[in-house]
């Protein structure tokens, strides 16, 4: 079951929002509604689902409705229409008591400007969620202390928020959200107010914590690099509508429209694309048992000066050059004596790491998964991948 399921969620700011909802259903756009009625469409019929343990990033520029969307999920802003299911329960239909309970038990939140309580110490900020739930002081302070240690703030628990730097304040914000031990973290531009270096540090921290505790994270950002780094999946928003949902690779490789394409064109692809995106089918592959004569014949047929050799289970053994194949045939040597070991890579290795490898390799890099030959990557493939995005050929290795 999906952790968060959003169906046709809509928010209209104005006097008669229901009228605008009708207009939206008839396919009218944000601008038309603003011109005709003076009402502002914040979020327009958004549907998406977030799986348990996933980091789902919503990316958009200011005014795209992303911050409104995240507030509709815990009803800091009341939705005009649509449904939000958290663990199968529709939060939009809950009464006040159930909503408060839902916020306490299931939905933690981290804010762009931290939203710390300035009159309380770090410890009392972090323990706030438990305090309002009526958890006794010794217990809530013990639990808060543990989280404060986890986020690396030990020793600062008695400090007041205004004595801390921005990065440390946001660690307090993160710790506060973690202390209630909710399954879901809503993060509204949580790192946008931080310096680049601190931001990177916090991103790494989030990924580390995420891999440790497996929260479901809904992360809002206006920074595509951040989205690509953190997101298992990304939704791109514009004018209250989701333009595209997909994994970082899908969005980079196949932008849904020119808006997304414009966004992604300046992105450093080397960090996002991996070996499997740019690998090609080898032109010539042979089984080891076929022998050197067959090797020469296949190379002649394909016009390739090298051939990749696999065993019966398609386990990769090495590559054979035409010179070595002829040598083995003439001198009647076993193939293994003349096999050449090429540079290897996993399918998941980022292109970034392959650049150095490719520069020093005489032959294309061989992509191997669990010992099986998956494909090859030439220097050209890496460069074209960096420029054009991923190679769309289906890779099927056949001998």
């Amino acid at each position: 079951m999906n952790k968060i399921e959003i169906i046709n969620l809509t928010k209209v700011f104005g006097e008669k929002p229901q009228k605008a909802v009708e207009m939206l259903k008839n396919g009218e756009q944000k601008d038309e509604i603003l011109n005709k009625t003076g009402m502002t469409v914040g979020v327009n019929q958004v549907s998406l689902s977030v799986k348990p343990g996933e980091i789902f990033v919503i990316m958009g520029l200011s005014g795209s409705g992303k911050s409104t969307l995240i507030r509709l999920i815990n009803r800091l802003i009341e939705p005009t229409a649509g449904e939000v299911f958290i663990d199968g329960q529709d939060i939009t239909k809950m009464d006040k008591t159930a909503l408060i309970e839902m916020r306490r038990k299931k939905l933690g939140m981290v804010f762009q400007k931290f939203g710390l309580l300035p009159h309380r110490s770090v410890l009392n900020n972090v323990a706030y969620g438990l305090e309002i739930q009526g958890v006794k002081k010794p217990e809530r302070e013990a639990r808060a202390m543990k989280i404060i240690e986890d986020v690396g703030l030990k020793g600062y628990e008695k400090s007041m928020p205004n004595q801390l730097s921005g990065g440390m304040q946001q660690r307090v914000g993160l710790a506060r959200a973690l202390t209630s031990d909710t399954d879901i973290l809503l993060m509204d531009e949580a790192f946008s107010a931080l310096d680049p270096i601190i931001r990177k540090e916090m991103q790494d921290e989030l990924l580390r914590l995420q891999s440790k505790i497996g929260k479901t994270v809904l992360f809002i950002t206006h920074d595509l690099d951040e989205a690509l780094k953190l997101g298992d999946r990304i939704a791109i928003m514009k004018d209250g509508v989701i333009v595209q949902i997909g994994t970082p690779e899908e969005i980079l490789a196949n932008p849904a429209n020119s808006y997304v394409a414009n966004f992604v064109q300046d992105i450093d692809r080397s960090k996002v694309l991996v070996a499997s995106h740019v690998m090609k089918i080898p032109e010539a592959v042979m089984f080891y048992h076929e022998g050197s004569q067959e090797a020469v014949r296949k190379m002649e047929e394909s016009g390739s000066p090298i051939i990749y050799v696999v065993d019966k289970e398609k386990n990769y053994l090495g590559l054979l050059t035409i010179d070595n194949a002829i040598k083995a045939f003439n001198e009647n040597l076993p193939l293994e004596r003349v096999l050449f070991e090429s540079a290897l890579s996993d399918p998941d290795t980022p292109l970034n790491d392959l650049i150095g490898l490719a520069a020093n390799a005489k032959y294309p890099i061989t992509v191997v998964e669990n010992g099986k030959l998956m494909g090859i990557i030439s220097r050209v493939s890496i460069l074209s991948g960096l420029v054009l995005g991923k190679n769309n050929d289906r890779v099927v290795v056949s001998a």
Binding site: I100, G115, S180
Partner: protein, 278 residues
């Protein structure tokens, strides 16, 4: 502009004399008695305690909350009030001021909270506050004598009308100024409305509320002379006696005592407001 005759004067008098006073005087007598005993209690306590002890408490308060300068000023001020024979009158003034301030704060702060949380309440309260602050003092001084008789009680009521609005306004301003993200964060973690109010909004609005209380105290002191016209005892009545008998010396002596009291109380409450800031 005299197109039609509006007999507001006759209507008001008929209403007050024929209905309001006969029907409501029992109710107002009750209120009057409660206030009177409250004022008496506080004033008697202030007079019964030896002046030295009150002075020492004030000096320590001034020193702790503000600093050495104010403590020294408080010492000199207390010595002054004692040596010109104004101590008892000063305590009477302080007694009425304390009761007026307590009434203003106890009614004003909740009203300020209400007017910030509900737009409807705000719409009703706002014009009433404007009315209270701009209506000439003597207009409600006269009816409050009718309702509460002469003495400290009508002074408290008149002072309340004059001094409560800042408490209401500053409270609602203070709550309005709590950063939106802090309120959002508190809600997002599942605070109830009451928890939000007491754990977040009121503590953060404290500096503004204290500024309102400070204003209330200052306005009550400034009412001291006016209140003495309707029989309130204290420094004001000394000033009034000085004016009536053209005794400039008496007027100045009592007037200076009011100023001294005002400065001490103003500085202490202001520093208190600063201490609640973050």
């Amino acid at each position: 502009m005299n197109y039609f005759k509006l007999p507001l004067e006759e209507w008001t008098n008929t209403f007050i004399n024929d209905w309001f006073l006969p029907n409501m005087s029992g109710f107002f007598d009750g209120i009057s008695n409660v206030f009177q005993s409250f004022i008496d209690m506080i004033t008697k306590l202030l007079i019964a305690v030896p002046p030295e002890i009150i002075a020492i408490i004030l000096i320590i308060l001034a020193w702790r909350i503000s600093g050495k300068g104010l403590a020294l000023f408080t010492l000199v001020g207390c010595l002054y009030m004692g040596s010109v024979g104004m101590w008892e009158a000063a305590m009477q003034t302080v007694g009425i001021m304390i009761v007026s301030t307590i009434v203003s704060v106890f009614i004003g702060v909740p009203l300020g909270i209400l007017s910030e949380t509900s737009k409807g309440v705000d719409k009703v309260i706002r014009p009433i506050l404007d009315f209270m602050q701009t209506l000439p003092i003597f207009v409600y001084l006269i009816p409050s004598i009718l309702l509460f008789g002469l003495g400290g009680v009508p002074a408290v009521i008149a002072t309340f009308v004059f001094a409560a609005p800042p408490a209401v306004r500053m409270t609602s301003l203070g709550i309005k100024q709590v950063p939106a993200e802090v309120v959002e964060a508190s809600k997002a973690f599942g605070s109830t409305t009451t928890q939000l109010l007491f754990k977040v909004q009121l503590p953060l609005a404290m500096p503004a509320i204290m500024a309102g209380v400070n204003q209330t105290i200052m306005l009550s002191l400034s009412m001291a002379v006016v209140s003495s016209m309707i029989g309130a005892p204290g420094l004001g009545s000394s000033v009034l006696r000085g004016i009536a008998t053209v005794n400039v010396g008496l007027g100045l002596t009592a007037g200076l005592a009011i100023v001294v009291l005002a400065i001490i109380l103003d500085r202490i409450t202001q520093s208190l407001g600063q201490k609640t800031k973050f």
